[in-house]
């Protein structure tokens, strides 16, 4: 042992310190060990004699004589060196050799430090602002600690399970892009995807009550959504107002179920992200949209036409009213004036022939092109077949 200790000077001292109970005896052993060590490292030939069974036995026992304890100790060391003696045979193993005795003395310290660290870590807990922790004392629930620093008894007496209670967790259903068809009250199908936001309102219940709280949220969400959708028609499910109603309905339903389970979970919101008709029927639904637009177009055209008809009527009626007001002031004169003005205009715009009554006037028949006056404006004429009838106007 001595031979191994000395190359490490300080290490050897530490070792001795650890072994404090050994007292004087160990000191002696070290002193004796100091001498064999130097020749050992400087003159490798002496390694031979330093065969585990011989040199250490040579060096130490004679010096020691004081007590049986020392002898025992020496033997103990001998045994140790003997065990380690296998090392020197292999030169490669030699550097490892000094470490071992160090380990012997360092090990308890290391263990002690490790234990302290574990104790420290397991009894002081830093909780983030959104976190809470459940403290169990030997398995039994003891208390709930809030965010900040808290001290508990060390592991394994007290354990803390820290959970983020404030952040909203989000469950997407379905969690892929596939179609999720649900039956509505009118036996139609709607493709729905939605998400549920929830957090923990009762950490105790959340920790101990349910075998799998997260899965429970998902299953309850599915059950609640199906139940709510089954109560509305397809039209309602697709419309915005119906959706809002369903969202609220599902949230309340989930909360009721989860409270019934005493899960400690609070549903913060349900949001329908998509409510579409099934992909296979999309064309038919698009046609409805087209029809709606067409119908709306028909209506607005009719409304425009109606406005025109009414405007014209109003215009004509007002014009008549104005003339009539004039006419009332001097009926006879006005009437006559209008008659002559009109006749004047009409007759001056056309060719006029005054035919004697009974005179056998022969008029050329006009070609049948009455509606194409531009072709030959001057020549075309229309005979007023019963000019005498116009006298009735008077």
């Amino acid at each position: 042992m001595a031979g191994r200790n000395s190359p490490w000077g300080g290490g050897g001292d530490d070792g001795r310190g650890e072994d404090g109970s050994g007292g004087e005896g160990s000191d002696g052993a070290d002193a004796s060990g100091g001498q064999p060590e130097e020749p050992q490292s400087e003159t490798p030939e002496r390694k031979g004699p330093r065969n585990p069974w011989l040199p250490s036995g040579d060096g130490t026992p004679p010096r020691r004589s004081a007590s049986i304890e020392d002898i025992f100790r020496g033997r103990g060391e001998q045994r140790r060196t003997g065990g380690g003696g296998g090392g020197p045979r292999m030169p490669g193993g030699f550097p490892n050799l000094p470490r071992r005795p160090d380990g012997k003395s360092w090990l308890p310290l290391g263990i002690g430090a490790a234990v302290l660290v574990v104790l420290g870590f397991s009894s002081v807990h830093m909780l983030g602002p959104k976190e809470q922790g459940v403290v169990t004392t030997l398995g039994k629930y003891s208390r709930t600690v809030d965010s900040g620093v808290s001290v508990t008894l060390p592991w394994p007496i007290e354990q803390v399970k820290v959970v983020d209670t404030s952040s909203f967790k989000v469950v997407m259903i379905p969690d892929n892009e596939n179609e999720k068809l649900m039956l509505t009250s009118d036996k139609s199908l709607v493709d729905l995807s939605y998400l549920v936001r929830w957090n923990i309102k009762g950490l105790k219940d959340y920790t101990f009550r349910l075998a799998d709280p997260d899965e429970t949220v998902q299953e309850v969400a599915e059950a609640a959504m199906r139940a709510s959708i089954a109560q509305v028609s397809l039209g309602q499910a697709l419309s915005g107002a119906g959706r809002a109603q369903v969202e609220q309905d599902v949230g309340e339903r989930m909360q009721r179920i989860l409270d019934f389970y005493r899960s400690g979970i609070a549903i913060q919101g349900v949001e329908i992200k998509k409510a579409d008709p099934p992909a296979k029927t999309k064309g038919a639904f698009d046609n409805v949209n087209v029809a709606q637009q067409e119908a709306e177009r028909d209506r607005s055209q009719a409304r425009a036409a109606a406005q025109q008809v009414i405007a014209r009527a109003q215009g004509e009626a007002t014009a008549f009213d104005k003339v009539y007001e004039e006419y009332k002031l001097a009926p006879d004169v006005t009437k006559r004036r209008m008659y002559y003005e009109t006749m004047e205009r009409v007759l001056s715009d056309n060719d006029t022939v005054v035919g004697e009554k009974g005179a056998n006037t022969v008029l050329p028949l006009p070609p049948m092109q009455r509606r194409a006056p531009v072709a030959a404006p001057g020549d075309i004429s229309v005979s007023a077949p019963s000019a005498s009838d116009s006298a009735g106007a008077q």
Binding site: F208, V220, R312, A313, V354, P373, A391, A393
Partner: protein
């Protein structure tokens, strides 16, 4: 170190024995489990059994004793457990099929009974699953398709829960809740539903188009009626004068030059000397 060992060898060994003995004769029961102490296959004690409404911290969780080697401890979940039913087809009274997915939530309330009958909670779950299946099929088969959809509300789920609970009691379990997770149409019915939906949409589209046309007609007719009323109100004041006024307008339009956009061609008008216009032509 060595001296510590050598000096107090007996003490160390004694301490070790005591420690091992302590470890072997105590058990730590956590809040979410119940511990059944079994002696030669016979349950003798239960630690931390399920008690309804017991607050955590007031339960039997914690450290308990047992006789080492002689007594074994079986730990049983105290939490709410789940039985998931495989999807299965249910035939409603009106002969429509529906694929139903359900789950049940249960807990072990009589751990001793459970240890005797099933042994583990997994076994309980396994045993309950086919029962749940058959109860669901049986109970939903008594209902119409429409009520299957809304079965959540009805008494069906409560019936199923009661039936399952009765069976579960054999295993020391209590069924808390049964719910339909999914109710889907099977493949064939799904295609039929799509066809029906499409037909429905087509009808809807036609109806919407017809409604649009109807509305347009009504709007036009109403406008015409309103215009007629406006005319009547105005012209009705003096029908004779209207006749004259309108005749004058009409002559202007028919025999006049017309508007620049649609000009009338010149015509030849043959006037009889008797014409009123020519009254003064004959005599002053």
């Amino acid at each position: 170190m060595m001296s510590l060992w050598h000096d107090y060898k007996a003490a160390w060994i004694a301490a070790g024995v005591v420690a091992v003995g302590l470890m072997m004769s105590t058990i730590v029961v956590s809040e979410d489990e119940q511990a059944v102490v079994v002696q030669t296959g016979r349950p003798v004690r239960v630690y931390n059994p399920y008690v309804a409404n017991a607050d955590y911290g007031q339960t039997g969780a914690g450290v308990h004793w047992r006789i080492p080697l002689i007594e074994q401890v079986i730990r049983i979940d105290k939490r709410l457990l789940s039985v998931d039913m495989q999807q299965q087809q249910v035939l409603s009274t009106d002969q429509q099929r529906l694929n139903v997915d359900a789950y049940a939530r249960y807990r072990i309330v009589d751990p001793v009974k459970m240890v005797r009958s099933a042994g583990t909670t997994e076994r309980v779950t396994q045993q309950l699953e086919p029962i749940l299946s058959s109860v669901v099929r049986q109970e939903l088969g008594k209902r119409t398709f429409q009520s299957l959809l809304t079965a959540e509300r009805g008494a069906a789920m409560e019936n199923i829960r009661k039936l399952l609970d009765r069976e579960a009691a054999e295993y020391g379990a209590q069924v808390v809740d049964v719910r339909i997770k999914r109710a889907d149409l099977p493949e064939g019915a799904l295609a039929a539903a799509f066809v029906r939906m499409e037909a429905g949409r087509q009808e809807e589209a036609k109806t919407i188009t017809a409604q649009g046309q109807r509305d347009a007609q009504i709007i036009r007719a109403e406008a015409d009626a309103q215009a007629a009323k406006i005319y009547a109100d105005s012209f009705g004041k003096d029908a004779q004068f209207y006749d004259f006024y309108r005749a004058m307008q009409s002559y202007s339009v028919s025999f006049g030059k017309g508007t620049p956009e649609s000009p009338n061609g010149a015509k030849t008008i043959l006037l009889s000397p008797d014409n009123a216009y020519l009254n003064h032509f004959r005599e002053p």
